[in-house]
Amino acid sequence: MRYLKHNKILIVILVLFVVMFPMTISLPQQSRSENIVTAIGIDKSGEEYEISLQYLVPGSSDKALKCSSIKGKSVGEAIEKFNLDYGKVSGFAHCRVIVFNNEASDGNLNEALDYIQRIKTNTNNIFIVSTEKSAKDLLSSVKDLNSEFYVILSRDSVTGQHNHYESLKSFGDYYNTMLGNVKCIAVNNINVEQDNSSGGGNNAQSEATNESSSQGSSSGGGQNSEHESKKIKNDGSLTIIKDNKRLLTLDSPASDCLNWFNSKIKDMTLKVLNYNDDIYQNCDITFDVYKRFTNVSTYFVNGKPFYKLSLVVDVTIIEAVKESLEIKEFIPANNLFSDKLKQAVVTEIKHKLTLAESNFKTNKYDVVNCYEHFNKFNNKQFKHYLQSLKDDEYFLEDITFVYDITVRQWD
């Protein structure tokens, strides 16, 4: 004891050990006591929500996922029921995506997302995705973290590259838009469809019953009565959400037109049909847009708003399809774009832009941030303009869109 008196460090270490050791060994491992949820699916039928949670099944196989669903009057109630039934609290720290179906977004989407918004977690890295029919079917068809679904998500988050389609929106983007003036956002649509190829493919197991045991088996057998195989379909369609409700769904060609307004889209393709000139006769030419430089400027002329989109596009031919093969097409010197070809490309781009413009004017949605741009750069004139309208919702109608497109050849 006398030795201990002089050796304060030893006393400190002993005290630390005596106090902390029992606490430390009695604590449960948090990763074992919480359910690691990687995706949330929200389906609505009538007044009830059906929540599908996709979570990791530890110990079964590398990166195996399981999907379970439960119904409730609200999202929060359903998740709490799930926690009770499953025996573990759901941890959303690793949640990558929230999927909602058309029915859920036809109602008040904010009502569906409110519970998730209040969770203390990293909302910037949760993507929101819509699906046509059932979020449960979509999530059930995803077997593990290497599936196409997660590849699509990770590609967007890692590289910022996305082929052809609107960039994925995060949860934060959604709330940022809904809290702002515009309250309009375009959300990617990902669906499932039947895989008709012979030889199996993915066995989708939709487990519709509530899980009561803490560890269910997910590999192999289980409920697989119909031998259906489903695959992910990501065709670039978009769901337009306005004022927390689904306004419409744009199919792939329509969303492709809309993408020309979005400066963040990196890779795009463009097709000019039935083109004729000295080199290409009756040709369907496909161009790869290598680079795009976009500049938006807004101004007023005599009180009328103008939205000018200046595009400089670097393109290269990736495919020229016609009935007969001619050698002159392959001579390098002949591959220089003629003015006619450039004009054809410009016309095609303008056509797409005009289609998109008429679409959002008709349906009154502003996903290209027109309102924000006018508000920022021409604030006073814009306020004056809005005051002259009966309803702010019609502000797009009188805006004249001007397109200034320059096409350059990239080789």
């Binding site: 060994i25 491992q29 948090q30 990791l56």
Partner: protein, 492 residues
């Protein structure tokens, strides 16, 4: 005639009897040899300790010259003068001669003389100058100190033939009377530091000093702390470099470890090889050492904290691996790590103590059977083994701090398991605050980082070229800070 006979008889009793009396006072030890000799008609007694005496030197430097010069009426002083050209000889009284005898000197008692001739015929068994096992270098000097004080001092003297190099000797230890040499540059060192050292050493009346470690504890302000407050080295080139920086080097007889004072914690991040290699490479290596230090102390604690409190921090793919491997473990994460740490420490201790011919077998048992089988049996997880292995290896990235790091990693494992990351942060702040208050010998412990001394940053974590180090370290108190200048400046 009767007087001569009387003197004759008293002389015989004097030299041999004195020698025998001396042997009796040393408890009649059988290794103390007493020889009764008659040289040129004079009787003398030779006393020496058999195992400490160089017999050839004795014959050459003692007996031969005595035979040359001994006469019946020569005095001890005359004999000394004549013999001194052959060897190192002095005249001492009986008590002093006794002490010299115990150090290996030979004694010659002459009839009628109270004083004794003392000859240096010392030959201690000892190692030759070898490369120290704990400080190997790729390029640079490979000499190391050994247990002989004289040899160690000679290794320093030959590198520093300077008139300003001062050596002071002390004897510490009632029974061991260990010789200590305090070496410093008189024109560089701060005298307050030297005085403080001497004061501290003279304060204690200890039985015996076997190793320099005993003295280290006397010199430290907080001897019970796990952190050392004095430096040490086994290499003479390092000792000389530290002397040139304004430090004091203490050599202790019987140990190859020299003490250097003052000490700053960051000198343990520097190795001798750093000064004989390219500066850029050295900077990278030092960064790796710092990283290694962090890993060894904090990694086990952080791993436990991640599992218990902060699994959200882990990316999903890492989390999947950890969850899958730890799913079926019976042990709590802290117990798992603690168990593996103890296992590793047992293996290390066994490897240090076991005979060489058993080394292979024990390594196989330890590594394969205990490690691999424990994982397969489901007692521990592979990530846990990997974490502790990494921590265990990085403990030795700074060998001088290995004992402190070993203790700290267990403490931080405990803290991480109880309080999580916040606890680890608090523990780190507590530790650094504790170290900030460790000033000794007028030197801040965490210099040159706290307090920040910009001139010393050239040889801190990032090392600059030798040509830029024009001043001595400002964190070490010194009287003369100029180390390098151009020859033109000197002439001015």
């Amino acid at each position: 005639m009767n007087k001569k006979i009387f003197l004759f008889y008293t002389k015989i009793m004097n030299s041999l009897d004195m020698a025998n009396q001396l042997k009796k006072s040393l408890l009649d030890s059988t290794d103390i040899i007493v020889r009764d000799l008659e040289i040129n008609g004079e009787r003398v007694a030779l006393v020496f300790i058999d195992e400490l005496c160089n017999v050839e030197e004795l014959n050459r430097s003692v007996l031969f010259p005595i035979k040359q010069f001994m006469t019946t009426d020569i005095t001890i002083e005359d004999l000394r003068k004549n013999v001194s050209s052959f060897c190192n000889v002095e005249i001492l009284d009986l008590q002093q001669a006794k002490e010299k005898l115990l150090r290996g000197f030979s004694l010659i008692f002459m009839d009628g003389e109270e004083k004794v001739l003392v000859f240096n015929t010392v030959m201690y068994p000892g190692r030759s100058v070898e490369e120290p096992p704990t400080s190997t270098v790729i390029s640079g000097p490979r000499e190391g100190f050994n247990e002989t004080l004289k040899v160690n001092l000679s290794l320093i003297r030959k590198r520093l033939p300077s008139s300003n190099l001062k050596v002071e000797e002390l004897n510490i230890g009632r029974r061991t009377k260990t010789r200590i040499n305090i070496v410093y540059f008189d024109d560089i060192v701060d005298k307050d530091v030297v005085n403080e050292i001497k004061q501290k050493l003279n304060k204690f009346d200890i039985d015996g000093v076997i190793d320099s470690y005993y003295l280290m504890k006397f010199l430290e302000n907080r001897p019970n702390s796990i952190f050392r407050q004095v430096g040490n080295t086994e290499k003479p080139d390092i000792a000389c470099a530290k002397l040139l920086e304004g430090r004091v080097v203490i050599l202790v007889d019987g140990t190859p470890i020299a003490i250097t004072i003052p000490y700053v914690m960051f000198e343990d991040f520097q190795s001798s090889n750093d000064y004989y290699s390219d500066a850029h490479r050295v900077s990278i290596l030092r960064i790796i050492r710092v990283l290694g230090l962090f890993l060894s102390i904090f990694l086990p604690g952080m791993y436990i904290a991640l599992q218990l409190y902060h699994y959200k921090v882990l990316p999903l793919k890492f989390l999947v691996t950890i969850v899958n491997t730890t799913q079926n473990l019976p042990l709590n994460p802290f117990l798992e790590i603690f168990f593996i740490i103890i296992l590793f420490d047992i293996l290390f201790e066994a490897s240090v103590r076991m005979p060489k011919y058993l080394g292979m077998a024990i390594s196989i048992v330890g590594a394969l059977i205990l490690g691999d089988t424990a994982v397969k049996a489901g007692l521990v997880s592979p990530p846990g083994v990997m974490i502790v292995a990494l921590s265990a290896i990085t403990v030795y990235i700074i060998p001088n701090q290995s004992s402190q790091i070993s203790i700290l990693r267990i403490v931080f494992a405990l803290i991480g398991g109880t309080l999580g990351f916040h606890g680890i942060i608090l523990g780190m702040l507590f530790l650094i605050a504790y170290l900030c208050n460790f000033d000794s010998f007028k030197t801040p412990y965490l210099a040159p980082y706290a307090p920040y001394i910009s001139k010393d940053m050239k040889d801190f974590i990032l090392k600059d070229s030798l040509t830029t180090m024009k001043t001595r370290p400002q964190s070490i108190p010194n009287k003369n800070s100029t180390r390098l200048r151009n020859k033109g400046e000197e002439k001015k």
